[in-house]
Amino acid sequence: MGDFERVMISVADEKEMMLPTDKTVSLEALICDASGHGNLRHQYLVKEVPVTIFVNDRELVTLLCTGHHLDELAVGFLRAEGFLESRKDLESLRIDEDTGAVRIASSLDASLVEHLWQKRTITSGCGKGTVFYHAIDALLATPVSSDVHITPAQVWERMQDLHRLSQTYRDTHGVHNTALATPEQILLFRDDIGRHNAVDMIIGHAFLHDLRLDDKALITTGRLTSEILIKAAKVGLPVIISRNTATSLAVELAAALNVTLIGYVRNGKSTVYSGLDRVACSVSGEG
């Protein structure tokens, strides 16, 4: 308990706040130790703002995010959820930062997607069950086909690259970092309080710039859960790499969707949970 620190947010005068980046605020907080002694110190906090996405004037969802790259965030979210399919669907995009709204006009008839959105799958016990829990995901996510290969050394190097790019994390310890990469280099970096948001920004950027994804890897600091896996598979990302570990359902889905899932990338090591054929690594045995 000796090194236990508790951060108490004090009432801070906005004028006194430090604003080192557009993603953080600073405030004075009391740093206490277990003996009851404390010091007032400036702390960087990552911003959290609500952003509401409207599609064709219909309110769809409110995301809590860091508040940057809202165009990518909204478009990526809509693409991954099936509300946008191609660039031609996107007629206009308007960001109202004052009200925290992103308004998108789309030509795609997404009424079916909207009707089925987030509805839990119900199946009978007669036959092998589904790995999906949302019906619409089963429709939108198909096995990923790709020729991309990556070596364990490249996995480790790209993870180190990701950490080097994470200024906001170093300042706040409050964001997840995500990157889009080829085996040789990181192409795009995004961070956010939500690991899903950061992935959505990557997807949104690729969507807006017609960037193919089937030869690239997604690198993240977030846990490898089913939601991230499904999101990536729906846009055809063949490789997902994380500093963190994977969940059982994510691994099951990765196998079903032919996604290479690599987790716990630390100290030069990594754990390949599925899609071993895309990882150039000699296997010496089990146990």
Binding site: L112, L116, T123, G125, G127, T130, A135, L139, P143
Partner: protein, 381 residues
């Protein structure tokens, strides 16, 4: 309003007369048949006699007393398998049999009944050459599903019946899917046993089935109990149908079944079959035009059941999408027929089965196909 396309599980809706007859028996007759001499009890007995007579007419059975009412086709099959087969007996079955056959036989196999399976092609065609070969030495019983409940594949029942007759082997025909749709003549084909449900093609309510056993076959009953006849004797009567019917029967169900059979006799079984097969053909043609669809098309179609899958989509998910997105009822998975799915190549996930009935229309099929088109427009990347 729901679009019901699961008639291979149970037919819905029923002819109006079925609802009326069930209600009439419940409200106006009420009594237990064969148990009393008063007017209402006599009327109740007449309900049973009338139903037996109509079924005998439909199936070409000269003696209606050989028809036994059961709870469903599964019970009928259980009566035969457990009352006819003994340890050491050999039984032949097709590769398309339902769990109503497979599971009782799995239990009987534990006491020494030997089960051999005749192969079917991936389109559901029975290998008759292999069947002929397996008839020597003669097995104790042959069990054949008349049409596969997964994809409607019709089996050569008349030919198999002829081969069985020649070999002196009784044939148990499982007509759960074909009764009320396909013509078959029990006496003329010299069928050993016929099992079917009353709530599918026969258009009756659920909870009633029927069993026919050829008079010369001594099948032990599955249950014993009160029959209202020879009550002074402790032993179950040996005459039919009392040998196999004990306890109070499902009178409203049987009355409804009789009304369903009346409807079939009036409409004409050929007209019913023609309509259902026409809808199945329309389904197959429409599905074939869609991307990623794999049809399990039968070599010879006997019922309206159409089975398919969409690549990379679990059939259960697709069924749920049709339900949640369009209020369309189809049956997905293994359809209680894992053996058939293995033969057709759709095991272990199963398939989506669309089974139109006599009351479905071409508009219904178009509605279903439009839903599929709409879903598949969104599918994949």
């Amino acid at each position: 309003m729901s679009l019901y396309l699961d008639n291979a599980a149970t037919s819905h809706p029923k002819p109006q007369a079925v609802y009326e007859r069930v209600r009439h028996v419940l409200e106006e007759v009420g009594a237990s048949p064969g148990r009393g001499a008063y007017r209402l009890a006599r009327e109740a007995s007449a309900v049973l006699a009338d139903a037996r007579k109509k079924l005998a007419t439909l199936f070409g059975i000269a003696d209606p007393q050989q028809i036994v009412f059961t709870a469903n086709a599964t019970e009928s099959i259980n009566v035969v398998l457990k009352g006819w087969l003994r340890p050491g007996d050999r039984v032949l079955i097709s590769s398309l049999e339902h769990n109503a056959v497979v599971r009782p036989l799995a239990r009987l196999a534990q006491i020494g009944v030997q089960v051999e399976t005749v192969p079917n092609s991936p389109s559901g065609h029975l290998d008759l050459d292999e069947f002929r070969r397996l008839l020597t030495p003669p097995p104790r019983l042959v069990v054949l599903v008349h049409a596969c409940n997964v994809n409607g594949a019709l089996q050569p029942a008349e030919e198999v019946a002829g081969l069985c007759r020649h070999a002196g082997v009784p044939l148990l025909l499982d007509a759960a899917q074909t009764a009320g749709v396909q013509r078959f003549l029990v006496d003329e084909w010299a069928l050993g046993m016929l099992a079917c449900s009353g709530h599918k093609g026969l258009l009756g309510p659920s909870g009633v089935g029927m069993l026919y056993i050829r008079p010369d076959l001594d099948v032990a009953p599955l249950r014993e109990g009160g029959t209202g006849s020879r009550s002074e004797e402790e032993q179950q009567p040996l005459f039919r149908p009392d040998r196999y019917e004990c306890g109070t029967p499902n009178l409203p169900g049987i009355a409804g079944l009789a009304a369903g059979v009346e409807f079939i006799l009036k409409e004409g079984i050929d007209a019913i079959r023609h309509h259902e097969l026409e809808l199945a053909t329309m389904l197959e043609q429409g599905l074939e035009e869609l991307p990623r669809v794999r049809l399990y098309r039968p070599e010879i179609r006997g019922t309206g059941a159409v089975s398919f899958n969409v690549a990379h989509l679990n059939p259960g998910d697709l069924g749920h999408l049709l339900d949640a997105g369009f209020d369309i009822a189809v049956r997905t998975g293994l359809h209680c027929a894992p053996l058939a799915h293995k033969a057709l190549g759709s095991f272990p996930a199963g398939s989506v089965r669309v089974a139109p009935g006599y009351f479905n229309t071409r508009d219904h099929i178009e509605q279903f196909l439009n839903a599929m088109r709409s879903l598949l427009r969104h599918a994949g990347r």
